[in-house]
Symmetry: C2
């Protein structure tokens, strides 16, 4: 780093040299400082904004990023916006993994797997429906607004770009504790949806479609299923490996930091390995998070549990804020705005058409697939009501960083748009992302309050400060354990009372599967990979582990065998 | 990232495409995967090696990195070693800050400030002495080994490069709990020493010395003092700001993750701001860590304390392992080895001379300055014994990543050595670093056991698993609080009994300063910035903070007012 080659002299002299001489080398430091300062500001402002329930943290970050973008642009006199450039690599390799991993790590597993069928319907079939509608619609409508030089591959890419729900924003708008069913459905869909979109996008980019034959559709489906399966297996395998290593080697004997480090690094390893093998890192790291929370987390010491739980959440929080800041700053990518050759009317037409296609494309699968899902659910209290369907439809309208990353990948090379049409596609994407995040994102909470008033909700509690999840149990509240072990939720309002296996098989297959899984887990998995109640050295920790030598709050909350 | 533009088809097809087509785009993923896998291996192997007390984690990492380097080199058939290239920017901007911050955060403050004078003597005067000896020695000796084209600026740079003790390695070889006095002296010196070396290096690089006039020396000294002062003030200011924000806004009301994020980001902000203003980020982040542990840490919730304590330690641990892996891999920078035009004898002569100069340069200040320090210490039980001086001399002989980073900065441009002489300087540096880390580093623990056998040590306890620090107190053991509040150490074996201010002023000025500071701290600082026993909403946390709603182990360990 040339910034090390520094002048010696008074501080004043030093200061005046900033921006001169080795300015280019110093740029890294300047932009890192800018971002770090903005992150601090976002955290503090997000906290202050929390009083206004309808302004979410993400919107705060976007606005702050946008304002900073203006300042930077004015300071640089409208010149290059390279500090603002959206960097796909940064996004996909460093920012996305902690967010998705944390989601898997903290997700209420029982909820997720109970709604597994619905999530898959939304996340896979739904994306295909939305993709088809948006592709066909844009193919038909875009040329009317002067965008007539796009080829079929571009339209297909647009279809996937605008089908990718922003799961990051969903996390901020819906609360797992306040509305577990909706959160589980919408967020679960978001993760699967991200993966589906990326896979579809890859398919579209690679195969030079001339026309849309049935064979191609089948190939895409086959490829998707294979990718989904391989990614899931990889995530589960690495999660189990981490549990096994930590259980067997008992790393905490010498240093608790080592087990935290190993968990963190193996989680990341799952993502990057999936990327290495051209699988879906998002799916892999999500399932790795689930497995780690189910096994590995129970094999580490008490302090490591607290640290991983809060540490992963914090990393995710920082990455989210970072992304939204980025998206906000990126809106001012002047080079691309200048390249657009459409007039205001055409631009608005494009924008409105895309928005309409997104709305229709999502409605076209949420309502039919919800009906299908309800048809398959025998018990009436787990059916998805029409009002809930509206929220599901609405909460998945946000488009975010994944859309932007895919758009940059399709329509730019080395950050520059290849043609005015491509620049238009980029600016439209940015416009849609900003609009949906800010308008739809902000409106979600009021909408939920209106569509689902507290009295009509079975699982959504908005007004009380005490959420009606099992958090109120002493141990669970500390460690948010309900997210981390299926047992803990046995007494939750949503958990049906236990019945015989046969009765359950007739009534609700999901519950039977769950019970069968638990029996298998207790008999074969936990003895090997650890997990709640299966850590062999519980009592040793109190005397052996250096760091926890006399850790005062151990014993009462350790589960007994 | 072009790696997103992926083929669709069978997994087999996908796999075979790796390395073809968009191979260059995929390189990032490949190298990240490589490093992440190596980090996992290092953690597991480091754990297994811990049984052999003399092989430290750093040496394990270096060896593993070296072996990987060989494999990569063989795989690439001895071609470019770009994956292995040491990246100064990565090192100074991302890897060093968490290590130094954690050191400040976890340092036993009372020990550090009690030995402040000695630390400053070693870290500032000592570096100047060592720098002078190495510069003069290399100027005199190097031309005899065929290295005759270096100018005076290069020799001065070599003086600073080889005066930078590797504080990272010191952290791994000495234990704060086992030998607090030595740890405090050697590590404290290491931090100040790093800063001094970087400042000296900047001075040397910027001013084109023709000869070494008294005026230049004075200017360097003035510049150093200014930099030291500014850096310290900046670190303290940001630490206090973080304490004030967290105390005033009470971030945990909405989310405990936000306060952890704010602490982390503000810590990093201190470093990067210092770099922005061309100050010493190392010093700044170190003092920021001290202030944060004294004030901010006490203002956050219990779970945030556990998380920050272990989270920061883990980040530091990962960064350290990463650096040593890097250094190990970098040893195989074939391009530079090929450029060297010396024969084996000359190379060995250079290497041996440099090693000798380092040994002499360090001895030349440790023993005289220790005598000076002992002269100023009135109480005989805090004097530094001759045996301890030997350990201090020895434990500071390791040269590490800072040396390599400075050498690359001086002798390369864009990663390539500018001339055969410069390539020789780089390879000599790498050789010295590897040798000192592996030989001196490995030999430190046996040496300490030999020079300072348990019976002769007042503060060094090696054999028992229960360290004789105040860790045995219940609360302290959990949170390692002795590092984080001076009060906690009042009863420690090293803390003298309280006497009147006048008596203390006569006996040991340090203690008087400490008491005066505590009175000031309690009267003015803590009411504003929080800290142990000064958090206004202790009881509120139990009922308000969402995350800690029924956190079971709060009340008994909260200090009362």
């Amino acid at each position: 780093m040339g910034a090390r080659a520094l002048p010696v002299g008074s501080l004043h002299t030093l200061m005046t040299k900033v921006g001169l001489g080795d300015a280019e080398d110093h740029m890294v430091v300047v932009s890192v400082t800018l971002f770090v300062t903005l992150l601090c500001a976002c955290i503090v402002m997000g906290h202050l904004m929390e009083e206004f329930q309808w302004i979410s943290e993400s919107v705060t970050a976007i606005i702050l990023g946008f304002c900073t973008g203006i300042v930077v642009l004015v300071t640089s006199k409208g010149a290059s916006s390279h500090v603002l450039q959206f960097d796909e690599e940064l996004f996909f390799i460093y920012l996305l993994p902690p967010i998705i991993f944390n989601a898997g790590f903290q997700v209420k597993k029982k909820q997720f797997f109970r709604n597994f069928v619905a999530i898959m319907l939304y996340g896979v079939i739904g994306v295909f429906i939305s993709f088809a509608i948006i592709t066909a619609g844009s193919r038909f409508m875009f040329p009317k607004f002067g965008l007539d030089k796009l080829v079929i591959g571009d339209y297909l890419a647009l279809g996937t770009i605008f089908s990718a729900t922003d799961s990051v924003c969903v996390l901020q708008v819906l609360s797992q504790d306040e509305s577990p069913l909706l959160y589980s459905l919408v967020f679960g869909e978001g993760v699967v949806n991200d993966a589906t979109s990326v896979v579809l996008f890859r398919a579209v980019q690679k195969l030079a479609f001339k026309d849309f034959t049935g064979m191609e559709v089948l190939r895409i489906c086959g490829s998707f299923l294979q990718l989904f399966f391989s990614s899931t297996v990889l995530g589960i395998a690495i999660g189990l490996l981490s549990a096994y290593i930590i259980k067997t080697l008992y790393l905490a004997r010498h240093s608790t930091d080592r087990e935290i480090a190993l968990m963190t690094i193996m989680a990341y390893l799952s993502y990057i390995l999936a990327e290495l093998f051209y699988l879906s890192g998002i799916l892999t790291v999500f399932f790795c998070g689930i497995v780690m929370s189910h096994y590995t987390w129970h094999n580490v010491t008490e302090s490591s549990r607290v640290t991983t739980k809060h540490g992963f959440a914090t990393m995710s929080f920082i990455a989210e804020t970072f992304i939204f800041l980025y998206v906000g700053m990126d809106a001012l990518d002047v080079d691309k705005w200048r390249m657009v050759q459409l007039n205001a009317g055409q631009s608005f037409g494009l924008f409105a058409t895309t928005l309409m296609l997104i709305l229709v494309g999502r409605a076209a699968f949420v309502f039919p697939l919800s009906a299908l899902s309800n048809y398959m659910r025998k018990s009436s209290d787990t059916k998805i009501s029409f009002r809930q369907q509206i929220v599901i439809w609405w909460a998945g309208l946000m488009r975010g960083a994944v859309s932007i990353a895919l758009a940059f990948n399709q329509f730019t090379s080395a950050g520059d748009a290849k043609s005015p049409e491509y620049a238009t596609a980029i600016t439209t994407t940015i416009g849609i992302v900003l609009f949906t995040l800010m308008v739809f994102g902000t409106a979600t909470k009021p909408l939920m309050r209106w569509v689902l008033p507290p009295t009509s909700r079975s699982d959504y509690d908005y007004t009380t400060s005490e959420p009606n999840t099992p958090k109120v149990f002493a141990f669970d509240a500390g460690f948010r354990a309900p997210l981390l072990g299926p047992d803990a939720q046995a007494g939750s309002p949503l958990g049906p009372p236990r019945r015989s296996s046969l009765a359950m098989l007739l009534a609700a297959p999901t519950n039977f599967i769950h019970d069968a899984w638990r029996a298998f887990d207790d008999a074969y998995m936990r003895p090997v990979f650890g997990g709640r109640g299966f850590v062999p050295y519980n009592s040793d920790i109190l005397t052996n582990a250096e760091d926890d030598a006399a850790y005062p709050f151990h014993s009462p909350f350790r589960p007994s065998f």
